[in-house]
Amino acid sequence: MSRPRFSTWFALGVVAVLVCLLATAVWLGRETSPAGRTVLTLRLWDQQVAAAYRESLDAFTAANPDIEVRVDVVAYAGYFDSLRTDVAGGSADDIFWISNAYFAGYADSGRLLPIAPSPDWEPAVVDQFTRDQTLWGVPQLTDAGIALYYNAELLAQAGVDPADLDGLQWGTPGDSLRPLAMRLTVDAQGRRAGEPGFDPGRIRQWGYNAANDLQGIYLNFIGSAGGTFSADDRFTFDNPQAATAFDYLVALINTDHAAPPAAATNDNGDFSRNQFLAGRMALFQSGTYNLANVAQAPFEWGVAMLPRGPAGRVSVTNGIVAAGNSATKHPEATRRVLAWLGSTEGNSYLGAGGAAIPAVRSAQRVYHDYWAGRGVDVGPFFDVLDGPHLSAPGGTGFAAGFTALKPYFDEMFLGRLPVPRALQQAQEAANTAAAR
């Protein structure tokens, strides 16, 4: 018998390498599915909250040994792209987080399980995710309202009492926000905005964070001016009240120079927050979603109420729900998990670390306790919702419409497109894109 040739050994070697690599892949992909258990998956986009969910779901499995829930974290940047393909392909998770901006399309196409509302759930979140009189998800988190973070040291240097911040108003004869923001804006020579010789090209400290920021800034201004941003799946921001709000913001940036230029903030949502954390911004209007970041600030800080506008103090509020996949292979088990996630016990895990506010009201105590333990009064974020408030916008085609309006808003905040023309063109473009 002749010996195999080198070329045969060579070919066998290539095949062996391929087999070894594939065997490694098989080993990596081995499933550790426990016998007799129904395994469900929950998809969300936040790593920090995922850890809290794992604790909550471990407690659920301890009480319900026949069900195991695995948490699947997908980055926010691609979350809704991959969710769409997975839902369309019938391979989405049994339960997934969904936001107000995207849920309408899924609800309308019958992709979500209807949910019976509970009186213990945050009403604003229930309203946000109710469409055609049906609730389409179990409220999980709420952002509460928007408030004003302040740098106590910079206020002291300007001789401002933090208690006065709660009385701030804009767009009224007694406008106090603009003069204060200018007083808190300082150039490299130490001159304040509005003083003779003030150099707007060399500012070392900003007064306020007026910017092209939907949730933190302009929705609150529109609401406080009595205007609307959207209604019934259509963009409606081309109205006189919204124009008043945008005029005020654009002037703060480009005329008064009391806020960073739009060139720095239009495409960098972190810019204002980082300026505040660096001690280069006195007032930073934002939500609880930035509380954990602000808590790391190396200076004394506090939280004050949102400034009042011509129509009062109207904050935006937002929420996230856990939606049940209507195509799940385990509808009964999915409903049991959803019921747990909407319970006080199941939901309270999410607030224990102070990073997120549970949307089950009886579970919110842990969040308040966490921040009270650190000496932070989070009251202004909640008190602002006692009055009228706006829900974060959403609806069919919202995401496409919002993408379409951005270039017009960018130009408007840069001061290159007059506010009335920008609003008119942006609304037209947004509604056209949303209708496609």
Binding site: V14, G29, W45, D81, S82, G89, D93, L277, G279
Partner: protein
């Protein structure tokens, strides 16, 4: 003495080097800067003190597994692409069979179809086969060679003198012997070029893994890096640590095969 013209050339090269290296240096610098310093200081400030917390922080995001999955995916596709492309290219270059050239040009014509156009049909195929979110879905569309690789190899194989092959056949060599003993040894530069192109392409691939996988089980480096950016936090220090790690294997490859890369630019006309 160095002429003024040489000085200008050197100046141009130095400027080119600075422009090329600056983004990498900034990335490296950011990766050893603490998140709080990055948020409060200038992006160009020197890390004070330098920290490895961003690198250790990556472990919490499943970055180690993503590294293994990416390496495995790249290795499988590399072995598959080289093997199947060599076999196909040799068949198109040397074997005689009816319709050979028509088949070849039809296959090459698929080069004109943009990759993005095939994403949806490929996704549907994988979903129907039940392969979504599996390792097989990551590698199957690319493991059986590519028109570009086959075209490149076929042209090279055709340039190898037939007399060499005939001499081997007279010595009793079969087709596999000819391939292993004659064709492959004389095609080393083009094979290295192809290997490098394949490794770089697959190591950096983002679109297909993003679409076909979900969750952490088969997440690749690029998708994991994108995943570091949350809704309200860009986490640039973590992202820069991740990209620094992701680029190391490519740098090693570049240093090891610099000569071949330079040559590959000549061979393929790629820049």
């Amino acid at each position: 003495m160095t002429s003024p013209r040489s000085w200008l050339v050197y100046l141009g090269l130095v400027v080119g080097a600075v422009i090329t290296l600056a983004p990498f240096s900034l990335g490296l610098l950011t990766s050893v800067t603490s998140a709080s310093q990055f948020a409060t200081g200038s992006p160009l400030s020197w890390p004070d003190p330098p920290t490895l917390e961003n690198y250790s922080g990556l472990a919490g995001f499943g970055f180690g597994r993503a590294l293994v999955v990416t390496a495995l995916m790249t290795a499988v596709i590399l072995v598959g692409q080289l093997t199947f492309s060599v076999l196909a290219a040799y068949a198109f270059a040397r074997l005689e069979f009816p319709g050979r050239d028509t088949l070849f040009w039809v296959y090459i014509a698929t080069l004109m179809v943009p990759a993005t156009v095939t994403v949806v049909p490929l996704y549907l195929m994988m979903a129907q086969l039940g392969l979504r979110n599996t390792f097989w879905a990551l590698v199957l569309p690319f493991v059986f060679g590519s028109p570009y690789a086959i075209f490149l190899l076929r042209e090279h194989f055709r340039a190898i003198p037939r007399d060499l092959e005939r001499a081997a056949r007279i010595d009793g060599a079969n087709t596999l012997d000819v391939l292993v003993h004659v064709v492959l040894p004389s095609s080393r530069p083009i094979l290295v070029t192809l290997a490098l192109i394949t490794v770089v392409t697959q190591w950096n691939s983002f679109m297909w893994p993003l679409v076909i996988t979900s969750g952490s089980q088969w997440r690749v480096l690029t998708v994991a890096t994108a995943g570091l950016q949350s809704q309200y936090n860009a986490q640039w220090t973590l992202v820069m640590a991740a990209t620094t790690i992701a680029i190391v294997p490519l740098l090693v490859l570049f240093l090891a095969f610099q000569r071949h890369i330079t040559r590959s630019i000549v061979v393929t006309g790629l820049k």
